[in-house]
């Protein structure tokens, strides 16, 4: 909607806002640093609304928690929009000034009455209304989301539904009001900024549409840039399936364990002609590779920059020499180029950065010197006198409007692909926990009293109904596969809702259960919604059980 992919607000703003809506995000556990800033806001008096199927540890901080059914986000957003429009609380001046498509949008949300909203989401109508009115009435409101919104088959539509709410109330482009996807790692934002996405050159310059930018890169690099979008991850796997993709170079990823439907993913990786893995850890994917290139830990063994969720580019400095034969990523890439016949020399991190600055206007003003002096700079920063940008889209409030207006999007409720039925009656949603990170490649290496291994978390009611008890091993099956996992009773879950992480794939391969129904627009799989059944495992002879345990299920 806005062009560049990044949170619009600064951390400082969330400390000074009036309302925080945390939608599909358990930031308390998954974005703990950001959550510190959020808590400052809460302590300063900000109200907080949490939208999440689970009453997470984040939701427990909220003034109002809306426990919607998995995959009903659009229905909830549209129902809230209808409340706001009917109450006349939409920001008419802003809509008139800076948006397009309001009438179509208003018509689209009209059928989402409170009753319909309650039916589709499970959230009581009066609570939907309270949340809508709170958002519309707040002078400042920040809406944040993460994978609870994006790990769905209609991820982009989900995001659009939230952006619609922001546009409807004018909660974007002002200090203390914004729309923020939270980034999962210290540098997920930086990955996107630097062009590690299939459709953009560094600085979010479109490969197909922005021929001027493309020409700039071609001139600088002395080589043509293919004017076509590349494949995103899911398309790559489809390419492997078709046999079109035969060679894969994986840097810092562990797709053998992190992909939905890992059985299929692993078979496809195994079928490749050639697999190169560049990582600091010997992951399961690395174990399958033809060549493994040990590299350096970016936060302590190499020079460079990272970009956080508030778009702040920060310097990272080398503190340690890497162990053994590990080499810096830049060195590896340059060496690879040299052996392929291109001498790039051995550029320093700063030289590479300065090249980027010459090609990406939003980074142009960020010299290493300024980054150090200013403690990082938030993009865009167009020249060396530019102070950086605490928040984005102020242009929408400029009179006359600068740039194109922001369009409302017509989006409709579309339930999860993996439907519940009598064979698979429980909705499994997956996520992360504070103490672990993704597949555990990084966080599984050390002991932590918080690590408790994988469990299938069930409501007390379901545990009772199924005749299970805490810690009991059960069989969890989806339409794709089946795993065994111990039961954990979690009273923060309601009946019919189950939760697992994928932190301990050696123990339980959760992603055998998940569905790889992907969003065509973003390529993200629907990790958040699978239909499962949980069964008691018939009592076995002890020797069988021991065998099972040693296999790690």
């Amino acid at each position: 909607v806005f062009g560049a992919g990044g949170g619009t607000s600064s951390y400082r703003e969330i400390e000074q806002t009036d309302l925080v809506v945390l939608w599909g995000s358990n930031a308390r556990e998954t974005h703990p640093i950001f959550f510190h800033h959020l808590l400052k806001g809460v302590h300063n008096g900000a109200r907080m609304i949490s939208v999440d199927p689970r009453r997470t540890t984040s939701a427990q901080w909220a003034d109002l928690w809306l426990g919607l059914d998995v995959g009903s986000d659009i229905a909830l957003a549209n129902a809230m929009a209808r409340v706001i429009i009917h109450a006349g609380l939409h920001n008419k001046a802003f809509i008139e000034h800076a948006t397009t498509g309001f009438d179509e949008y208003a018509a689209c949300v009209e059928p989402y009455t409170l009753e319909e909203g309650e039916r589709l989401t499970g959230v009581p109508a009066d609570s939907i209304r309270d949340a809508a009115l709170a958002y519309a009435r707040a002078d400042r409101a920040i809406l944040c989301w993460t994978l609870g919104i994006t790990e769905h088959h209609n991820a982009v539509d989900n995001v659009l539904a939230l952006i619609n709410l922001g546009l409807l109330c004018g909660h974007v482009g002002r200090w203390g009001s914004g729309l923020n996807p939270l980034r999962g790692q210290n540098n997920v934002q930086g990955g996107g900024d630097m062009g590690a996405i299939p459709n953009k050159l560094p600085g979010f310059q479109d490969i197909e549409k922005d021929s001027e930018a493309r020409a700039r890169f071609e001139a600088a690099w002395g080589t043509p840039v293919d004017p076509h979008y590349g494949w995103h991850l899911s398309e790559m796997f489809e390419g492997m399936e078709r046999g079109d993709l035969r060679t894969l170079y994986v840097i810092g990823e562990n797709p053998a364990q992190s992909e939905a439907d890992t059985g299929r993913a692993r078979a496809l990786l195994e079928g490749l002609d050639f697999l190169v893995v560049q990582d600091i850890l010997f992951t399961q994917t690395a174990a399958m590779a033809d060549v493994v290139l040990p590299t350096t830990a970016s936060w302590c063994e190499s020079e460079g920059t990272v970009t956080n969720s508030e778009r702040r580019v920060q310097r990272v400095r080398k503190a340690l020499d890497p162990p053994g034969d590990a080499r810096d990523d830049m060195w590896i890439l340059a060496e690879l180029a040299r052996r392929l016949g291109f001498d790039w020399g051995q550029p320093t991190a700063e030289e590479a950065w300065d090249e980027l600055r010459s090609l990406s206007p939003m980074h142009a003003g960020m010299s290493y010197q300024r980054l150090e002096q200013m403690g990082g700079i938030q993009w865009p920063c167009f020249d060396e006198t530019h102070p950086g940008s605490p928040f984005l889209h102020e242009r929408l409030w400029a009179d006359p409007l600068v740039g194109p207006p922001a369009p409302f999007s017509v989006v409709e409720h579309d339930p999860p692909v993996d439907e519940l039925d009598s064979s698979f009656p429980i909705r499994l949603t997956t996520g992360r926990r504070l103490e672990s990170y993704n597949t555990g490649a990084q966080s599984g290496l050390y002991n932590s009293p918080l690590h408790r291994g994988e469990t299938i978390d069930l409501s007390p009611e379901d545990v009772h109904k199924l005749g299970l008890s805490e810690g009991e091993m059960v069989r969890v099956s989806s339409r794709r596969g089946s795993v065994e996992a111990p039961v954990h009773v979690d009273s923060n879950l309601r009946p019919g809702l189950a939760f697992m992480t994928f932190h301990f794939p050696e123990q339980v391969e959760t992603n055998k259960l998940t569905i790889d129904a992907t969003d065509p627009k973003s390529g993200t799989a629907e990790f958040k919604a699978s239909a499962i059944r949980v069964e008691k495992i018939p009592r076995r002879e002890p020797s069988d059980a021991a065998a099972l345990m040693s296999k790690g299920a």
Binding site: Q60, W65, S127, S459
Partner: protein, 615 residues
Amino acid sequence: MDLRLGSVAASPAEREAVASVLGPAVSRWEGGTRADETEGHVARGGHEARARRHLLLPVLRAVQERVGWISEPALDHICERLTVAPSDVYGVATFYGLLTVEPRAPRVIHVCEDIACKCAGADELIARLEERLGPENADDSHEVTWLRSPCLGQCDRAPAALVTTAGDEPSEHVLGPVPSADAAIAQAADGGRPADPRTTVPQEGAPDLRLLHRVGRVSPHSLDDYRSQGGYAALRRALELGPEGVIREVKDSGLVGRGGAAFPTGVKWEAVARQPRRPHYLVCNADESEPGTFKDRVLMEGDPFAVIEAMTIAGYATACEHGYIYLRGEYPQAFEILTSAIDEARSRGMLGADVLGHGFSFDIEIRRGAGAYICGEETAIFNSIEGYRGEPRSKPPFPVSEGLFGLPTVVNNVETLVNVLEIVLFGGRAFANVGEGVSTGTRLFCLSGCVESPGVYEVPYGTRLGELIELAGGVAGGRDLQAVLLGGAAGSFVGPGDLDLELTIEAAREVGTTLGSGVVMLFDDRVDMRAMLTRIAAFFRDESCGQCVPCRVGTVRQEEALARLMSGQTRGSVEDELSLLGEIGACMTDASICGLGQTAYSAVRSAVALGVFDD
């Protein structure tokens, strides 16, 4: 708020105790019954839930009173109800001496082992109790146990004890003077509630009493009795004067705080009255815990309506609609009497939304402490009321601008407030005619220790120390005076040669001592002064909140040095130890956050000067 709680549920009794303060839990999300149909999809909480944090101490007290100790499941349940982290609740529960998170017998005899009671044979009583009941602090497999306690504020009844009985009908009562261990055990075991000792003053009926004139002469339960003795005339006069007029009179009177710090009351009131931020709060500091002090208790037990009326006037003058009485936990009789008096005043329109039909609103809530000397510090009170550990805050900001709940707050001691009645009725200038300089009006002194007639005495500022002691009948048994402790544990000792000292703030300061909270404790020639010092040092070590290093470490080092001096096993010479004590003391005095650490060396220093360690 992510609460990581244990899986064991609180017992029905614990849950009932919590609900008695917080009301029933409305949803499973705050520890009630789970109704998954609706609760699976919505929960409310956040600011609303956390705004009840200030009820944490009352809730902890309720569980303690009901069960006798606070178990981990009970703590967890409180966490759920108030959305407070378990570590936080644990921190508060373990801050207070009257609360325990370890199993404890339901009936406890808290025996005062502080200086006045020590003079009256507390050590002997403790030894007998130990013989009879075994070691102190027995667990809940026992029916009754005993505990050493710091000063219970019953020094006129030494040796004193407080008996607490947990259960469905919890009770607390004071024993004093305790004739023997057997008598204490017998009285503690008596299921019924023995009558508390009657509150009287030795000067009862004397014509020139201003603060004490009703004590012992009116029923503390009767508003009519109070009014027949001039009660509520001052409030009427205050309404005529208007808020600014009241403040003017209080400033004219020269009244300064009677809690120990001697700050001008009128200045404080004016500062709060002028604060634009609302609401304003009034806190009556009734956490009378300075060893040897019991004057506020006598006022509250003997003339509770005077406290209420004075608070109402203070609230009127400074635009406070809500007043707290922060009452020390060891005063069950004062609690009962004040509670009944507040109810009575409310039912008669003397408190509430429309006081005396004059359209201003004022009400009073009692908050009970739970055994922490430090909570008498004016900012520690705020933390305690707000549900945090009762640790003092750094000043500035001062309470007049950022006090209770971060809002402008008047904090006054009980005796200070009661003076206001006189000032409003007869004018500030008339009040200032008694005494001179900053020492205007009369003053309550708590005479205890080796004195013939212990009790609270009211004399004009400027009375000589010797005259005051004579008024109380002199040294008990006509023995020779060895020393007098002025101002309590935070005060200092003077010798028999100082009986000419004029009891004014200025004169006391001139000779390097303080009147503090009005303690005048006598020690005759038989008392082992070194043992008294050791007790004072132990008191400060125990009562230090531990927040700042000079006090937390200094009070321990001071006690250790005194122990070495007592045992004769000094490090180096006696002079070396005394010089070390001096250094520790200077550090505590200069660098501690609050008055506790700043005065923890005061009594020791004065005793050294009197030659207690001279051979």
